[in-house]
Symmetry: C2
Subunit: 329 residues, 2 copies
Amino acid sequence: MLLLSKSDIQACYSLTDCIKAVEDAFKLFSTNKVEVPLRTQIKNHANSGSYLCMPALCESYNASCVKVLNVFPENINRGESSINAQVLNIDTESGAINAILDGNYLTQLRTGAASGVAIEKLAKSQCHKGALIGTGGQAATQLEAMLISRHLDEVQVSDLDYSRAKEFAAEMTEKLESYKTTITAVPTANMAITDADIIISVTPSKRPVYDGTLVKPGATICGVGSYQPQMQETPSELVQRADKIYFDSQDAVLSEAGDILIPLRKKEITQSKFTGELGKVISGELAGRQSDSEIIFFETVGIAAQDLITAKSIYDKAVQKKVGTNWAN
Amino acid sequence: MLLLSKSDIQACYSLTDCIKAVEDAFKLFSTNKVEVPLRTQIKNHANSGSYLCMPALCESYNASCVKVLNVFPENINRGESSINAQVLNIDTESGAINAILDGNYLTQLRTGAASGVAIEKLAKSQCHKGALIGTGGQAATQLEAMLISRHLDEVQVSDLDYSRAKEFAAEMTEKLESYKTTITAVPTANMAITDADIIISVTPSKRPVYDGTLVKPGATICGVGSYQPQMQETPSELVQRADKIYFDSQDAVLSEAGDILIPLRKKEITQSKFTGELGKVISGELAGRQSDSEIIFFETVGIAAQDLITAKSIYDKAVQKKVGTNWAN
């Protein structure tokens, strides 16, 4: 079995690689090539934790995996990550479990890559300013995905905790210097989004984090943080103003994402506003952006197909580049 | 993460340890202390394989795990095991995945241990002869469990393939010599079971593998191999003659085991013959053997509670004895 830690994955696999993989994943998903049973969940009542178990198979991509993701919010009180995840990659010919991959890092990669694919497919070809709202564990790959998918002069970053935003901007300026983009922290989300061509929000907020009327025509907005029905980081005004609304999975968004569920429930929007799944834009079934003035909103909650195709593509690269630890079990 | 291969597990954990763990598992299961969602199954049509994913939690035992078990029967054609399994052990306080254990060996241990517990709890105190029918991958732990639970003068072993039975008997004679039991191969199952106090069958047969009228009063019989509705290794006559019938899980047996489902369907027995779960004998809710002349039948298909408690107890021993490979992921 091949053991792939975060640093092993970093040694052989880039976010650019992952954007390609997630593009495949969305297309395979939206053309019904990925088999995903209902995920099982067990609650740990004593420690307020949840255990999630997500198997998936795509025969046409020779990919099979199980992602085990445990969410224990109280870990934060001990200074530990609230999420512990591992992904088992499985050989589709023999059923052999041939690799275990750091699931936290894989999740960061594939979540960033989802926005990367959306921007590549839906943003205007010429973009100048980006905005990133939220600087938690998923933020770094979101920012890099933005820079991979469009050349930007600057990205403004904001967070409820301004000093955290400044630290993040400084760290990312160094890490992403090859992109030659100015990365700065600003004190408010509204400052960040003003005049932005690309906006990504990745917060667990229960209230909208910016003023939707300030978003400029032609902007592409990715809503990444809202993965529970009571979470709403994207203002209803923005969802109402959007000319097109895309999803990773419409079913998943409609069962989990407050960003869409709350305005639906309040009758601020109806389902007739929905354009469809990004995978269908990739397969050519659905149109993407049709003018530089359209406001386009992409809502993603994350789907097992992303984990599946990402794990397989990491494994293939690691084998090819002889990266990772072989455990002779 | 602690990596525990078969040889690591062998270095710190015995089948005797596992029999204690599985006794706990059956008791916890039958007193509703183990949470097990419906297992998910995905079929791989191109390669006739099945992927099974089985999470489980027992808060009162501080145990949580996910077993991933892939069954690809065509592997046999390449001289490989049809089963590939790994078990992830999970810390119940933080959700951290703290170990990965060889799931094939763990399955062999906990399956043998189930018969060990049944024999310990249900067999006559004085037994002399054992019979083992079937000498495949699960047979070694079945035989050893028999010897741990009762002192036997001899065990007779049979298999459709007599030469395989002879090889198995020779190998086991050497491996289990400390038990001072004569282990011999015989050409037919009926020879093996004649006059046997303990009988274990562990075959994938679709037809009964011995003559149920030959089983002597006082015998304890474990049916281990029948885990699908069309599989029947135990003769209906034996199920009819049994004074008491116990299960690991009555629900699981009634959804999977042809040993019980086939005589029920043919109206050779009715559910009124069922005594109940072995876990309730352990907890004191149900009587076990009440005379030396009763014929007692135990049918087991294997339940997630066994994997769960076995994985946790192996992990604890490995940590205590500093066994295994630490992977600093």
